[in-house]
């Protein structure tokens, strides 16, 4: 059954799309859509909130800013970029989504994402679970000591923090140190087995960045810079993402 046709006004306004195009290299190709639907047919978010990527882009092209900017669908698209990957014109729909998120007044964005971003900003860990640096250090040292004793083959295993000159700086998802510290061990064992020279940093150890998901550019930058500066400070050669 066909749905009622979408009615648009005579005046083409398209303010939002034009604004985003100015931010992106080649305008994100946002005017290049062939309407083929490859994006929508392979998008797991198609149909949620009566929206799909092609429809979103077409509505943006038609200047239906109010409709697309108020749609909750922008929080259901994961910006996974599969639509860009399959698009013959390489149209950057996820950037349209990111900027739509950023257009919402900050306090009206989803509470969970907002809370995780704010928790990460509240300390120097960059941890979305709000874990202070000292707590992280304590857990790492405590669990390391426990395993060195319990498994003597790993009596020399290391889990350094802020070790200057280490080849690798590792980030760490907050989930392990906060809720399941035993899960830290397999990674450390692997690094021990291969003789890797590695370290965490106290500042910016948290691997997650919910401010990016929130569409909060300034805070995203703050967290990324905090981790990068900490890695630079210990003269890191390779920043190793552990997930």
């Amino acid at each position: 059954m066909a749905e009622a046709a979408i009615k648009i006004g005579g005046e083409r306004k398209s303010i939002f799309k034009d604004k985003v195009m100015k931010l992106l290299p080649d305008g994100g190709n946002l005017n290049a859509c062939l309407t083929c639907g490859a994006c929508a047919s392979g998008c797991p978010a198609t149909g949620l909130s009566d929206m799909d990527p092609r429809k979103f882009l077409r509505m943006a092209a038609l200047g239906m800013d109010e409709e697309i900017l108020s749609s909750n669908w922008i929080w259901m698209c994961t910006m996974c970029q599969r639509c860009v990957y399959v698009c013959p014109m390489k149209i950057n729909i996820p950037q349209l989504i990111f900027n739509a998120r950023a257009s919402w007044p900050r306090e009206t964005r989803p509470k969970g994402i907002l809370g995780s971003c704010d928790a990460a900003l509240a300390n120097e860990s960059g941890s979305a679970m709000g874990t202070p640096v000292d707590d992280f250090k304590f857990v790492v040292e405590d669990v390391l000591e426990e395993y060195r004793e319990a498994q003597p083959e790993f009596a020399d295993m290391q889990a350094p923090i802020d070790k200057e000159g280490a080849e690798f700086v590792l980030n760490q998802n907050s989930r392990e140190p906060v809720t399941e510290p035993d899960e830290l061990i397999p990674l450390w064992k692997i690094l021990h087995e291969v003789g890797a020279d590695w370290t965490y940093t106290s500042k910016g150890w948290g691997g997650e960045n919910y401010c990016m998901f929130l569409g909060d550019n300034d805070s995203w930058k703050h967290l990324a810079k905090q981790s990068a500066d900490a890695a630079t400070k210990v003269k890191c050669k390779t920043f190793l993402n552990t997930e």
């Binding site: 949620l48 909750n72 259901m76 498994q151 035993d182 390779t238």
Partner: protein, 185 residues
């Protein structure tokens, strides 16, 4: 980093590439003997952020090399589609924290069916968002396949996985190749 023009002298890499490198160099002496008779089947989730959005198919190939080295080539079953063309599980982009749970589970139905179609016993997820989401999908849609981190299986294969490091292994693997079983809590 590029987006914000943050100055840095280091390169940003992902650990899958290094797992593969260390296995190839003989530093990580993994093997799949533990699974020779068990024949437990595994599939793997390609995290969008690492594969499609960052390093492309070469790192997806590294990921498969690691998985096949530790579970046995004959015990790995790929999802379809896969690598850079893989579907997002629905755990990314902040969806896990956005409050739209019903929609998130609906989104993940594609992933759950993709995993079920492989008939694998386990899904390996190296990314925390993927891990949390697929774990929930496995319970929600009733298939209850365990979802496991890559490091767990690497250590299992090396014979250095203790009894308390097995949170995400299923009952079939809780007692296999246990390192220091006496330390079980």
């Amino acid at each position: 980093m590029k987006k914000f023009d943050i100055k840095h002298d280091f390169v940003v890499k992902n650990i899958y590439e290094y797992y593969a490198k260390w296995i190839r160099e003989g530093k990580l002496k993994v093997n799949s003997d533990w699974n020779k008779d068990l024949k437990i089947k595994f599939t793997v989730q390609d995290p969008c952020q690492i594969i499609r959005k960052s390093y492309g198919d070469p790192i997806a190939d590294d990921l498969r090399f690691v998985v096949e080295s530790i579970v046995g080539k004959e015990n790995f079953i790929d999802m379809t589609p896969n690598k850079s063309n893989n579907f997002c599980c629905g755990g990314g982009g902040g969806f896990l924290q956005s409050g739209f749970k019903e929609e998130r589970l609906a989104y993940g139905k594609v992933k759950d069916e993709q995993i079920k179609a492989t008939k694998a016993d386990y899904c390996i997820a190296g990314c925390h968002n993927c891990h949390a989401q697929i774990h929930e999908l496995s319970e929600h849609y009733g298939s209850n396949y365990p979802v496991v981190h890559l490091w767990t299986l690497i250590c299992l294969s090396l014979g250095i996985l203790g009894p308390n490091e097995r949170e995400y292994l299923g009952d079939d693997l809780k007692g296999v190749n246990v390192f220091h079983p006496e330390t079980e809590l």
